[in-house]
């Protein structure tokens, strides 16, 4: 935990009309660390990720990038900082081949002419370093299996040399072996010193690759746990709110009372 956070969210709030989607959420992401973001449906995971990715600008709070406050208002801002997002629906073009998809919007070119050979070479190198196996880099993405498409989508996020990679349910629709391949890839990202934010509903995946688990509940932080020293039950309790009992409520009350007093002073 010695490393400084590459990305830190402080007191983030986001409101959609009458719905308060996020309230005062904090999150720190450090390089070389996989932080899992878990929570029930509607807990605000996707909204939080979209605020980081620049899809929804935040209403309140600050986003710090390497220690200084930044504004992320558009997807482009996030990309420029070095935040890459792999959405659940992959966002690949089925009709284009793997190379074209990897470099889409980021093509290697001289003037306006594509340099296919440079792109193909870099694509092979990237896929090699990530130990990604696909039949050929020159076949349309439509002919790849679900797991292969997912790893291509993740590899695509790495083309711009990001520092933070956000994966939105990368294993949701995958079989056993394919899930394992994606989890391997997540570990390789960590080994390369990237910070990974992993959204998942699957506690087994979270336990397998994450270093820390941040739980969201009803748009608020509901604890950050160290994976190694926390049981599944504790995390699940935080997700479902089973820990939302008299004791915790009382603790929360006294804590707020304490801060209120400080403010009053």
């Amino acid at each position: 935990m010695a490393k400084e956070a590459v990305l830190a969210l402080r007191g983030i709030s986001k409101r959609f009309g009458a719905v308060q989607a996020l309230t005062d959420v904090d999150l720190e992401v450090r390089p070389g660390e996989v932080i899992a973001l878990v929570g029930d449906n509607g807990a605000g995971k996707s909204t939080l990720v979209k605020t980081i990715a620049g899809v929804h600008p935040i209403d309140d709070g600050t986003i710090e990038w390497e220690g200084r406050a930044v504004a992320i208002n558009r997807p482009h801002d996030a990309q420029d900082l070095g935040i890459a997002t792999v959405y659940q629906d992959l966002a690949l073009c089925d009709n284009l081949d793997v190379v074209a998809n990897l470099f889409l919007g980021n093509e290697v070119r001289s003037a306006a002419v594509l340099d296919e050979i440079a792109m193909e070479k870099r694509a092979m190198e990237l896929l090699d370093t990530l130990s990604i196996r696909i039949p050929s880099v020159r076949i349309p993405v439509a002919s790849l299996s679900g797991g292969q498409r997912q790893v291509v989508a993740i590899a695509r996020a790495l083309i711009g040399d990001p520092k933070v990679v956000i994966l939105d349910e990368p294993t949701a629709a995958l079989g056993v072996e394919q899930t394992a391949q994606v989890l391997d890839l997540v570990e390789r990202l960590r080994e390369r010193g990237l910070a990974v934010i992993l959204i998942s509903h699957n506690m087994a995946d979270v336990k397998a690759v994450a270093d820390r688990v941040a739980v969201l509940r009803l748009g608020r932080n509901n604890g950050v746990f160290d994976v190694a020293s926390t049981s599944n039950e504790e995390v699940i309790a935080a997700i479902t709110g089973a820990s939302d009992n008299a004791v915790t409520r009382r603790q929360a009350r006294t804590a707020t009372a304490g801060t209120d007093k400080e403010v009053a002073k």
Partner: protein, 436 residues
Amino acid sequence: MSDTVDKERGESGPASDALTKTPDAAATGDGAAVDPRLLVREQGFAGYLTDFKRRLKGGELGSLPVVLGLIIIAVIFQSLNENFLSAGSVSDIGVYIAGTGIMATGIVFVLLLGEIDLSVGSVAGVGAAVWAVLSVTNGVNDWLAVVIAIGSGLAIGTLHGFFFARVGVPAFVVTLAGFLGWSGLQIWLMGSEGSINTPEGSVVEDLTGYYFEDIAAAYGLALVAVLAYGAALLTDAKRRRAARLPFRPVSEIVVRTAVVAVVAFVAAYVLNQSRGLPLALVLFLAVLVLADFVVRRTTYGRQIFAVGGNAEAARRAGINVERVRITVFGIAGMLAAFGGLFIASLSGGATKSLGAGNTLMNVIAAAVIGGTSLFGGRGKIWSALLGILVIQSIQQGLNLLGMASEIQYMITGAVLLAAVVIDSVSRRTQKTAGRT
């Protein structure tokens, strides 16, 4: 479940999801070094053949059905009328295809986006009317009038694109409105005169009336085309080899170049037997080469395919989807107006009904028969040439046989249906083979 278990499972897992579509590659892949799942093409000519067979089985027919269709058309009409393949007849086909072919090239751009442009016929009419009114009636410089006519097509197309991309009206409706509206403008421009004849020696008359009579022209163009094609393939293979990527074997390059050479020189020979190399054909080929380069080799072309394949993915990749859509409709309008000038040249002048009738249908049919998908993201610029060749050959053949135009409509309709059926069936085969 610990993470080491996961790791092991991932790395030592058997190749259980070996792709069923690569039996050839799996069977011939040389053992331990190559992952059987990898679709590595063998080097050498055998590899080329295996790859070709695999594509056929997988339903990637490419241009094969159209080329076969053309051969069948040629054989049938030649057996019915020995003049069909005569030099004069072939030369006529070469001139007649230029106008609709150029318009079809614009339609290919639109189809690649997964959209449709129903207005190209009317835009062609407006282009011809603008040129005729400016140049003939008002005495504007001929070249300037041509440029303004093409520019008006560009402006009209861009307007369609604006309503489609920015305002969000379906392209079908926008261009349907354009189809009616622009043909109204065309009639209004032509005014009381029913038609304006092309003056002698004007630029537009030369578009389809000029032939390079020196036989060196046709042979020279064929030679340049073949050399450029072969050299491009060779340099590409050399660069790929240097980058240690899979490259085309020399044998494949020789075969491809030889096929192109045979086609080019036979065409040049036949054209020289008649009136020489037609300017119309040269301009059409130039449009095709330029458009093909833009579509396949530039960032802009890549963006067209991306928007046609998955507009949302393209948007997230930072592509300005609106700009791509607007410009593509602009290109279609521009090429429609350009093609309209060829049609005016052929029919001896601009008329109130130029571009009406079956022009629109022929143009769209050409693009589809040539193999460009109606559903976006798949197709080639060259399909405009192949498709219009099919349509024009049928018309030429039926004209020679003295058949009435109603029969021509029915036959062209049947060919279009056949082309779409082949497209749909091959797509289904591709799906079962894991390709879309």
